[in-house]
């Protein structure tokens, strides 16, 4: 699974964490990206807009994970654990959307909703 056959090296405490100011810069960057996202969000959604929104989302995600969650500096093992989770989640759930629900195509509900009788009232 996430751990490969070889051992992780012992991480020293010597690696330099960023200074407070650097963290502030990272946060400012995140703020700017969020601003860009909001502006894009007001556009009529087409493939390009959606694509750039998703890209910005990934950038933000990665920035927080790498800087604030220290994945940049910490052991590779942590990164593998997290990535395994993310990739598995992305894999199985995108597979559901694609295969079963044809999420990226048209809607699959064939019966118009108003044709289905309302559920009987259940009292317990």
């Amino acid at each position: 699974m996430a751990i490969a056959a070889h051992e992780e090296t012992v991480h020293g405490s010597g690696h330099a964490h960023p200074s407070d100011l650097q963290y502030v810069y990272v946060a400012l960057f995140l703020g700017v990206v969020t601003g860009a996202e909001i502006v894009l969000g007001y556009r009529h959604p087409n493939a390009l807009i959606i694509g750039s929104l998703l890209t910005l989302m990934v950038i933000k995600f990665a920035t927080v994970a790498l800087w604030f969650m220290h994945l940049r500096f910490d052991s590779l093992l942590f990164r593998r654990f997290f990535l395994t989770g993310i990739l598995l989640a992305a894999g199985v759930y995108i597979a559901i959307m694609m295969t079963a629900f044809q999420f990226f195509g048209n809607d699959t509900t064939s019966v118009p909703l108003n044709k289905i009788p309302p559920p009987a009232r259940i009292t317990r």
Binding site: H17, F68, A89
Partner: protein, 205 residues
């Protein structure tokens, strides 16, 4: 017989590394847990996305009543709370407990602002006619965002507990890792909101 055995000196004994990899057990556990959480939130997000594409029988669509400006502010607040969280950690790692406390408290306050915003959002959505049971989308929406909100709330409770511990002197610099682990949880919750904000709020058909 055992007293004749001479064991080779164990290299990682001296430097305070107790573990085979030199990584802290607690941090590793937290990362494993976060990996697991990915599948939890992934499931809720995909259920919402799938059900959002379905027609609603009753009530408004969620996307009709989004208050994007307000949600943007909420996202900004949560993002900034990640900054303050990391500053708190940097503080306690330097042994600067005063700053660490200030930033922990700030993070908790920002988190609470976010949750307050969510309560406001939910209330106004309900007033607009989108109750939890109204339609498919509403159930999925409230469950997803509510679940995230509960995570934030638990995070705040942990932060306030840390604050109390720190005030009582039970959070010395050696235990900075406790703050780091709570921080990991906090950032994770933030990262999930980054996903939700884009995928649920900004991109809608």
């Amino acid at each position: 017989m055992t007293d004749t055995i001479v064991h080779a000196p164990i290299p990682d004994q001296s430097e305070g590394h107790h573990t085979s990899t030199g990584l802290s057990n607690e941090k590793l556990a937290m990362w494993a847990f976060l990996g697991s959480e990915c599948l939890l939130f992934g499931g809720l997000i995909s259920v919402f996305l799938i059900y959002r594409n379905k027609p609603v029988g009753v009530g408004p669509k969620v996307s009709q009543i989004y208050d994007i400006p307000f949600t943007s502010v909420s996202s900004f607040v949560l993002l900034m709370s990640s900054l303050t969280m990391v500053l708190a950690l940097a503080g306690i790692q330097r042994g600067d407990h005063r700053r660490a406390r200030i930033w922990i408290l700030t993070t908790a306050a920002l988190g609470a602002t976010f949750v307050a915003g969510q309560v406001y959002e939910f209330t106004s959505f309900v007033r607009e006619g989108l109750g939890y049971t109204t339609n498919l989308q509403s159930s999925a929406f409230y469950t997803l965002t509510g679940f995230h909100g509960v995570h934030v709330t638990i995070g705040i409770i942990m932060l306030l507990s840390l604050y109390t511990l720190s005030l009582r002197g039970n959070l010395p610099t050696e235990k900075a890792e406790t703050v780091e682990i709570v921080g990991l949880y906090w950032h994770f919750v933030d990262v999930v909101w980054i996903l939700i904000f884009t995928v649920v709020y900004l991109i809608h058909p």
